[in-house]
């Protein structure tokens, strides 16, 4: 056992045995081995940045989901389930499934046919360089900063949960990601994300199984939650008729129009971090099937994230409190619920696997950020604006160095956040500014041939500025939330939903207005980019059970059934 791995602080939640340490070390050895093995298969730009466009639907689909399944996501939403009850599931079901199916059936054919390397790359083809530059610079900047913020948050978690030194966590995890992505490019990131997907499930699945056993099944669990909290904690929709009848302080319009129609659409269809995995699919059918496979597994994720939070609400002997209160009282915060459940049920070996699942979640998210940043920097910023005459080999080398530099900037951001904690709030808010308007711009570009370059640029800019303005307004005057979210009873999460909705509307209105006032783009320049001017290739003469539309229908039916069961 290495002494570095057991640098202790007295407040740790769990203690690892030697067998747990062996499991964690084996994980690091395996991901580095995969990167080393794949280094010889990342010699061309197509290989390094697009994984050779040869991923099967399953590999692309699981990687697509895994890039989103970060450790902070797992722990944060388990904490939200403890705090808000089953309402947190909306972020996994209506806040993800419709968007993933929309990506698969409507948007993916355009991304795939255009052979773009990135989402900003599509904007360049459709609207010109100004929209591409605005999107690429904001994405690259925010991605690397977000990576640093997540890195710091994860190191902090490792310090609290395991007592690990914060510097050790930051450097070991970030250098591991840097090495395997720089060696094998996107293919290495995708391979490791698939591996991490299995580890996350293997490490986390036991908690809800044992938790339900201890609680006496779902019916008894609901009764215990109703006694300890409220009956509204186990209903998805019945309390959303008013801002005051559910623990989240949100109205169903915010969930349906803000979260489902705009925010999740923006994230799942235009955030290059996740879309990049699908672009690596080997053919159009795989590219369409991948998000559908991702959606099917996404529907199951609440079983390992939300359910542990609900079980914690019922069985944990301690009462968890908000982070701010936990810091003062020395108690446990909502975010500690998943580690507490791990410690409750997992003995030697299982605990190591659970901790490995958390580390794997963090590293898959970070590898996603780094590989997406590398591609956007190289293809959408460096090549068009700095050096357009480099060879393919030159751009691959640029990609490798950008991976290293991106990780180092992330590490720098992590240390900056360590000094100025409030930066974390600002960076997370900044990232949300771009998502909703970008969706407006991309979806109008794909579905409306009359949208013009100036329309796309000004719509994206005005939508983003609208989002920033609303956020600043509420920051300066918290009572302004009543105007943004349309109710004096709205709480923090409602702001995100309505902020996204308004910025999307502003983006669409400005794009349409400016487009109608400017010269249309000739149809022949829009072939392969816009609905109605593009012949969508058929998925081939395959049986019904291999058609994306069939599986999208199956997922849709299951989605509705689940929502009705937990209404």
């Amino acid at each position: 056992m290495t002494p570095l791995l057991v640098t202790a602080v007295p407040t740790r939640l769990v203690h690892l045995s030697p067998i747990d340490i062996v499991i964690v070390v084996f994980y690091f050895a395996l991901v580095l081995s995969i990167g080393w093995y794949l280094k010889g298969r990342a010699n061309t730009g197509e290989d390094f940045f697009m994984a050779g466009r040869e991923m099967t639907a399953w590999v692309a689909g699981l990687s697509f989901l895994s890039a989103n399944l970060g450790a902070l996501e797992l722990m944060g939403w388990a904490g939200s389930a403890y705090q808000y009850g089953i309402l947190a599931t909306h972020w996994y079901w209506i806040g993800a499934i419709p968007a993933m199916l929309f990506l698969a059936l409507v948007m993916m054919p355009f991304y795939y046919i255009s052979k773009t390397h990135s989402v900003p790359g599509y904007l360049k083809l459709r609207f010109g360089e100004s929209s591409c530059a605005l999107s690429a610079v904001s994405f690259a900047f925010m991605t690397v900063l977000m990576s640093g913020v997540n890195m710091f948050a994860m190191a902090k978690v490792m310090q609290i949960v395991l007592g690990w030194d914060i510097n050790f966590s930051i450097w070991v995890s970030s250098l591991t990601v840097a090495i395997y992505v720089a060696l094998g490019g996107l293919r290495s990131a995708i391979f490791n994300e698939v591996l991490q997907f299995f580890l996350i499930w293997a490490g986390a699945l036991l908690i809800p199984i044992l938790g339900l056993y201890e609680a006496g099944g779902w019916t008894n669990l609901k009764l215990q939650i109703a006694q300890r909290a409220s009956e509204e904690y186990v209903h998805l929709w019945s309390g959303l008729g008013s801002f005051t009848t559910n623990p989240m302080g949100i109205h169903w319009t915010g969930i349906v129009f803000g979260l489902a129609a705009v925010l999740s659409m923006g994230y799942w269809t235009t955030d290059f971090l996740v879309v990049q995995r699908i672009l690596a699919a080997k053919d159009i059918r795989s590219a369409e099937m991948a998000p559908i496979i991702g959606a099917a597994f996404k529907m199951a994720v609440p079983f390992i994230v939300i359910l542990p939070g609900l079980i914690g609400l019922a069985v944990l002997p301690v009462k968890l409190v908000p982070e701010s209160l936990a810091t003062i009282t020395g108690g446990h915060s909502y975010n500690d619920v998943l580690p507490l459940m791990l410690a409750r049920y997992c003995g030697p070996g299982l605990l190591g696997l659970g901790v490995t699942a958390l580390i794997a979640g963090f590293m898959s998210g970070m590898a996603g950020n780094v590989s997406a940043f590398t591609t956007v920097w190289t293809y959408d910023i460096y090549r068009p604006f700095i050096n357009s005459k480099g060879s393919d080999h030159h751009y691959v080398n640029m990609g490798r160095w950008t991976t290293i530099i991106g990780v180092l900037v992330s590490v720098g951001t992590a240390y900056l956040v360590m000094q100025f904690a409030s930066i974390m709030d600002y960076v997370q808010a900044l990232f949300s500014f771009f998502i909703a308007p970008l969706f407006g711009t991309v979806v109008l570009g794909m579905l409306w041939k009359r949208a013009t370059g100036p329309g796309g640029f000004w719509g994206l800019l005005c939508g983003t500025l609208c989002s920033i303005s609303m956020w600043t307004w509420v920051k300066l005057d918290p009572s302004a939330l009543r105007y943004v979210a349309l109710s004096p009873y709205a709480k923090g999460l409602a702001q995100d939903m309505y902020q996204a909705l308004w910025s999307f509307i502003v983006c669409v209105v400005v794009t349409v207005s400016v487009s109608l006032a400017t010269k249309p783009i000739p149809d022949n320049q829009l072939t392969g980019l816009v609905y109605g001017l593009t012949e969508i290739p058929a998925v081939g003469d395959v049986p019904l059970y291999q058609k994306p539309l069939f599986w999208a229908a199956v997922v849709t039916v299951v989605f509705f059934v689940l929502n009705i069961i937990f209404w």
């Binding site: 045995s17 067998i19 062996v22 499991i23 084996f26 994980y27 395996l30 995969i34 093995y37 298969r41 590999v59 391979f191 698939v194 591996l195 299995f198 580890l199 293997a202 036991l206 044992l210 056993y213 201890e214 410690a343 409750r344 049920y345 997992c346 003995g347 030697p348 070996g349 299982l350 190591g352 696997l353 490995t356």
Partner: protein
Amino acid sequence: MISIWFFVGISLAVNGALILAAGIYQLVNPPVNPRVVLFHLHANVWWGAVLLVFGLIYCFKFAPGRQS
């Protein structure tokens, strides 16, 4: 090229074997005051075994020599 599923198999099999071994050790030498609740279910024995079996199936099915 070695399939990603082979690497998944290695990971599940090794982790499963380690967890199963730890579980069997605790089954033979049970602690006086078990730290975890539901200790009597010996989750690490059957969960380790499940992971080991799935891992071995993946390793066998996607072994480099068996691929075209």
